[in-house]
Assembly symmetry: C2
Homo-oligomer: 333 residues x 2
Amino acid sequence: MSVTIKDVAKRAGVSISTVSRVINNSKPVSNEIRQRVMSVIKETGYVPNPVARSLVTKKSQLIGVIVPDISNFFIGELLNGIEEVGKIYEYDILLCNSYGEIEEELKYINLLKSKQVAGIIFVTWKMSQEHVDAIKEGNLPSVYISKNAHNFDVYSVSIDNKTAAYEMTKYLIEKGHRQIGFIRSSIEDDIIDSERFKGYKDALEDNNIQIDNEIIKEGDTTSESGYYLMNEILNIKKPDAIFATSDEVAIGAINCILDKGYKVPDDISVVGFDDIKLASLYRPSLTTVKQPIYDMGAVSIRMIVKMIDGEEIEDKHTYLPYELVERQSVKKR
Amino acid sequence: MSVTIKDVAKRAGVSISTVSRVINNSKPVSNEIRQRVMSVIKETGYVPNPVARSLVTKKSQLIGVIVPDISNFFIGELLNGIEEVGKIYEYDILLCNSYGEIEEELKYINLLKSKQVAGIIFVTWKMSQEHVDAIKEGNLPSVYISKNAHNFDVYSVSIDNKTAAYEMTKYLIEKGHRQIGFIRSSIEDDIIDSERFKGYKDALEDNNIQIDNEIIKEGDTTSESGYYLMNEILNIKKPDAIFATSDEVAIGAINCILDKGYKVPDDISVVGFDDIKLASLYRPSLTTVKQPIYDMGAVSIRMIVKMIDGEEIEDKHTYLPYELVERQSVKKR
DNA sequence: ATGAAAGCGCTAACAC
DNA sequence: GTGTTAGCGCTTTCAT
């Protein structure tokens, strides 16, 4: 059996509370005894049992992360940031895949709470008041990574999606494009709530371009969806450019365009959103809005840790900088 | 505060041991009392505290997963399989990113043990006796997903890498290629241990093709590495085909070939290994060896659960079927 | 079949 | 500054 606080106390000739005090630095301990205890800890290789600790403190060094799709590229990079910064603060990641289903998400919130996690990072395509209520009730520090989190009274991290989409659309217009299709995921939010759609729409309006509903399509977050929706568009007309609200979807759309015998960007320009690793790997490399994905993960866990430690957090909603990255998938018309 | 076993016992007018018995089905309880307890549990919404449980049983419903790189495509798909099957058996995933560094890996093994995880799934590019010893000492159920795990006395899941590489090489030869470059990651294993290299070498020898060390290159698992190594090759000579030992590396190589003004597959054929999502998304889509990645994750966690439950496991090393998928990146010469 | 009680390893009053 | 002790919520002997 592994060594316990009792063993250490006995060997050091002190009480277990003293040992507890030195490992937690919770109360003053005379220097001599501290040394003695320390050396016994070293000798024996004692490691406090986190489970026993959690039982009494009702806290653990675990942070629950609920994501809608582990195999999604965006999520993978996000997890990277969360894990890496979490490690710095000695928090581990309890990973939950909700498949974007609200019942699963709600179930996990309870599960995580019972596991005594110290906080929850909630990544969701489309968030609702239900989520907020469930987590509020849990009374745990929580941060949301979600495009529409700013509509709720929660802590969140994101970018300014509306302005980013506006700029991207404007960029396309400046490149001479007029018929700009918009392919989005309805899983992520309703189109009326969609910041990215608002940005797109505003940019068109500000440039006196009529919105054409025939080239605005909704699907899900997969490349297959991008392919399918692009096909629907091409069956009706050939737009100048396509703005897809995620890189994965954009690449599905490009594949469709290519398969139909058109060239990208020569015949149709395509832009994405996110700047996942794939965007620069794919050929033609994808012009896109670079979200600081890793940083979004990093910042969100940093916020959680602050909340756990009772530190003040300035703003509920943190907006990180984005960037328009020009690559090969857009051509001046 | 949330409801405890004590509350349930009181409300049901029984002792806490009885409640424990009904929730764990550990000992016979009269039908009448069982009903009574059950209904109180339902009313109160009681959920056993897993932390308290772990403290006494020294087990948790947590399975530690140590991976070398969360943002790697292959790992993402693997995690998917692990999570999904884990959920069926009510195990959650404690995710650890080791960056492939052995000290990190060793540290995590101890951490996980102290967290009372029920088992560990160890994904590693290159495994060593050190890992095995560390985990053996931990005395926990464990399964390895690693290309060279079969060299060790551990439970593992993989595919028959040597035969797969042999077949892929043979396929390339049958397509008329003679100068077949080989790009691999030395991070994954030493070349002398590499099953994939053995398969490649054997196939060349069996077909009386001289091995050309100038077109055999070693780097890491990234696309950047593939790009760089391909560039080194092209600076010396132009091979007929390239066999990269991972899709990500293969795509880096293709990008280099494209940037140098050659065409794939017209000038140079390229094949990969893994069949990550990217392989079919990329254009030209990649001919590759399809590893059943999701299943590898699924099978490994299934093994762990069996071990936890004390069930017998037939074979230490499970080999899953692979498949050669022909796509667009190879052309008959 | 059921209950009483010990104890898992730890923290945190509370006493001295 | 240090020790004693009561729990945290649960499982598991040991009686009955």
